[in-house]
């Protein structure tokens, strides 16, 4: 009886571990691969990336469920082209960035971009009005990940 119980427990453990191994979110990697080929990223892409960074899955699309999130910008549609200023404002809010006195006073794209430059997230040779490409958006999240002390 005891042997049968041990075999049963071992069998369930094997099944569970296999399930965990296969349940990795490969859709995330596929999404990143598609984003990598986009010459222009959208505000919707940025929202998905912030959700991924926060631990949600790719399927959790749309901003309706995340209006409470600090990184959500008011007055933009998901299809709108993403600018460095928009991405900076989302990033500065998400990371609660310091480094720019003006950003601490005025929560706007211009000073959020300067705060991002001060923290090494963007390089200084650009403008907050520059459009962002898919690869640039992914690079931004590599830096956010480093900033948060990710692996």
């Amino acid at each position: 009886m005891k042997t049968i119980r041990i075999i049963n427990i071992s069998f369930i453990a094997i099944l569970l571990s296999t399930g965990i191994a296969f349940s990795q979110d490969v859709t995330q990697v596929t999404f990143l691969s598609e984003l990598d080929n986009k010459s222009t990223a959208t505000y919707g892409d940025a929202l998905i990336m912030f959700k991924l960074q926060s631990g949600s899955s790719v399927s959790a699309k749309g901003r309706s469920s995340s209006l409470k999130e600090l990184y959500v910008l008011q007055g933009y549609d998901e299809t709108d082209t993403l600018s460095k200023g928009m991405a900076s404002l989302m990033t500065a809010r998400y990371l609660d960035l310091g480094g720019s006195f003006m950003y601490m006073i005025l929560d706007i794209k211009r000073y959020a971009y300067k705060a991002c430059i001060a923290n090494g997230i963007f390089t200084a040779d650009g403008s907050e009005n520059d459009k962002m490409s898919g690869p640039e958006l992914i690079e931004l999240f590599s830096k956010i990940s480093d900033f948060k002390g990710g692996e």
Partner: protein, 243 residues
């Protein structure tokens, strides 16, 4: 007779090719870590063997530790990274080449005295060659390729063939549209020296004054607050040169 020679030649080629292929295996995969097989991305599993030229990609909050050969040369593939791995080895030498499409890796390349080691990481704009043991490498379209030495010596070379040997806290930063990498001590300088302007004010402080009507130095403002603020000071500096 001719058939026998052909068979021996074919067998020899097969044997030596097999000897050159290093065993690439996954030590640990965490989060969304996948490899490409055909046109599909499949999840990486701990202990899994990978083929030569395999593409590996990671997502948010994810990483993969990969062993590249029998010499314990390993890399950690950081979040949001895509790489392609080529690794060959024989008894006398190892030859590893990693194509970094985006993101970052941390490479550990311990040296075995008698084994000749070639370990290169390439991005579209530069290549790093490990001469020592540990390095962090990242690449992206905004900041370009950054090589940071953790331990040992690394050589960074851009596509024009201009190179720097790095050690200590030095960094190789090769940006797009720049013929040369930035000064290798640029990062040390940036974190140690703050640029100041008149009256000892930083650029940010000056900007603040331009947009606010305070009593410091906005046009028409009261400048008396800055009186007696500028004084002489002695600073002791200890300069440590990297090894």
């Amino acid at each position: 007779m001719k058939l026998k020679k052909t068979a021996i030649a074919a067998f020899s080629i097969l044997f030596f090719t097999a000897a050159l292929q290093a065993e690439i295996s996954v030590i640990k995969a965490e989060g969304s870590a996948a490899y490409k097989e055909g046109n599909k991305w499949l999840p990486l599993k701990n202990g899994q063997k990978l083929s030569e030229g395999v593409k590996v990609s990671t997502g948010a909050n994810s990483y993969a530790d990969i062993k590249l050969n029998s010499q314990n040369h390993t890399i950690r593939v950081k979040p949001f990274t895509m790489i392609q791995v080529f690794s060959k080895e024989s008894k006398t030498d190892t030859n590893t080449h990693i194509g970094l499409k985006r993101g970052g890796i941390m490479a550990k390349v311990p040296r075995e005295g008698k084994v000749k080691t070639i370990f290169k990481v390439s991005s579209p704009i530069a290549t790093s060659s490990v001469r020592g043991t540990e390095e962090n490498i990242s690449y992206g379209p905004d900041t370009g390729m950054i090589i940071e030495v953790v331990k040992g010596v690394v050589e960074g070379t851009n596509i024009l063939g201009r190179s720097n040997i790095l050690s200590g806290r030095q960094k190789f930063i090769q940006m797009y549209s720049k013929a040369e990498a930035l000064n290798i001590l640029n990062d040390v300088k940036n974190s140690s020296i703050i640029q100041i302007y008149g009256n000892g004010l930083t650029a940010d402080e000056i900007t603040t004054m331009l947009y606010s009507d305070d009593q410091t130095s906005s046009p028409g403002g009261d400048l008396t607050i800055l009186n007696n603020q500028v004084q002489n000071a002695n600073i002791n500096i200890k300069i440590i040169w990297p090894n």
